[in-house]
């Protein structure tokens, strides 16, 4: 009959109205930001950060430039350190990531052979100046392994277990191994690492 469809529809909204008062957990879906924040999932990837073991000098990155070459929008700038004679050291002198360009794809994390760069969970990063404040230099990007373990325990646990199994301890061991030897394992519990 004419009119009853409208009435049925209105009963749905009335029910939602009442539900929002009597049972707010299901009736209201708002999270009152910034007092309460929604928990991000473990694999949430926002911007990258560099990992060090122990002290910031002991960073895992060897300036191999693979992540800079793979990055689709080319937002990573690496200049390796040179010693007094001009020979290239396995350490970056400059490692800049332009957060204004980075599109959070996570490819840099996938292709790094040295478990040096991972995706962070930070999303409250507003700045006033795009050019100067959003270009993150090496010092701002370095974070300890404990931070990585805190935000992504599953993945960090798997990676640390593999590094321990291979006997990789730190900077000293990395200088010997060639960059293309180890394949970055897929971050999963069930899949064994695929070696080409």
């Amino acid at each position: 009959m004419f009119g009853f469809g409208v009435l049925k529809g209105m009963s749905v909204t009335l029910w939602n109205f009442i539900l929002s008062y009597i049972y707010p957990k299901k009736g209201i879906t708002t999270v009152q930001y910034p007092e309460k924040k929604k928990e991000v999932e473990e694999r949430f990837r926002n911007f990258p950060f560099l990992v060090y073991d122990g002290t910031p000098d002991n960073m895992r990155c060897v300036a191999c430039d693979i992540c800079a070459k793979e990055c689709p929008p080319k937002c990573i700038y690496i200049i390796p350190e040179k010693d007094a004679q001009g020979r290239i050291q396995k350490k970056p002198a400059t490692f800049d990531i332009d957060y204004a360009i980075c599109m959070n794809c996570g490819i840099c994390e996938e292709v790094c052979p040295f478990d040096a760069i991972f995706m962070d969970h930070e999303y409250e990063l507003s700045e006033y100046d795009r050019l100067s404040d959003l270009m993150y230099p090496k010092e701002k990007l370095l974070k300890p392994v404990e931070h990585f373990m805190k935000i992504r325990p599953t993945d960090c646990g798997a990676i640390e277990a593999q590094r321990a199994a291979k006997g990789i301890k730190g900077r000293a061991a990395q200088v010997q191994s060639a960059p293309a030897a180890t394949v970055k394992p897929a971050e999963t519990q069930q899949n064994p690492p695929a070696n080409a």
Partner: protein
Amino acid sequence: MSETALHSQEPQLLEVSIGPQHPSTHGVFRMNVVLDGETIVKLKPVMGYLHRNHEQLAENMSYLASMPYTDRLDYICSMTNNFAYATAVEKLAGIDVPERAQYIRVLMAELTRLVNHTLLVGFLLNDLGAFFTPILYAFREREKILDFFEATAGSRMMCNYFRFGGLKSDLPAGGLEQVKKIVNNYSRFLDEFERLLTNNEILRSRCQNVGILSKELAVSASITGPMLRASGVNYDIRKVDKYSIYDRFEFKVPLGKVGDVYDRYYVRILEMRESIKILQQILKQMPEKGEIISAKGAAAGKSPRMWKPPAGDAYGRIESPKGELGFYLVSDGTPKPYRYHVRPPSFINITILEDMCLGYKVADAIIILGSVDIVLGEVDR
């Protein structure tokens, strides 16, 4: 806005530009409309406001590096965009995909279909004037699916999850339970939604017999997707091509009869119910353990800037929620594609807008545009 005054015998025609800044055009899209009173006499869509040079960019990057850019084509359904691109590259290079990865791919594709159709129904009703209520109800359910995407792929909308030969990573612990909860609640949500909308007399009288698209015109204009099926043509690429493992699932294809706005809206609701059926079958059939990426695929992903597919060309297509999304790749044996072309369903569906809108009023043009289901990221690339 200009006025075309003809001689005194003929009516005065009014040329109006709807958009590009407009609350209802689903993005930056413009329509140049010539009106006689309130009836549309001529309509010309103007697009290109969101052109980001996707195809040209891909010619300068490795194959894997274009994957995050395909997320941003049809930014609502990023998983199916990835799926189409991965299918195209796998055809080009002859890479196979392991079993469990296939199941997870279809799972993601069907969840994306749910996401897209709920969003579309919500926005169609917003165009009709229902002041956000259907949108917010639809978004309430969509959030749960997006949370699952975040738990698995790392990001809610720009997932970048598919790789050539498989997926980037497996489902997280507890992922399948999340999917089970979503699927169990979805039918109930669809029932509530239908109670709110489908029998609503106002919706029916505004949407029925408006924007009729005949079968012949749809086929000759190469319309695909729910728009084509609402006009009565039985063409669903999941059934025609049987790509991935769709031939293992039992599902039907809903067809409309009249081809008006109401049919397009209702066919999408019926398709959502079919997707739920497929999801339930996936949850039953999925193998517990398995490889996520095949050996050849892992080799391709190990060092993407140095991977060279064999020379040749390939066209890979899937049934995205909006229609047939296809990628045409021409490779000359180098790590960068020689030619990379996207066949966007929204762009091709929008070419028929004028024929559908002639003779109707301006208010109808807005809802006809809403029912075509365009996303400007895809139209303009």
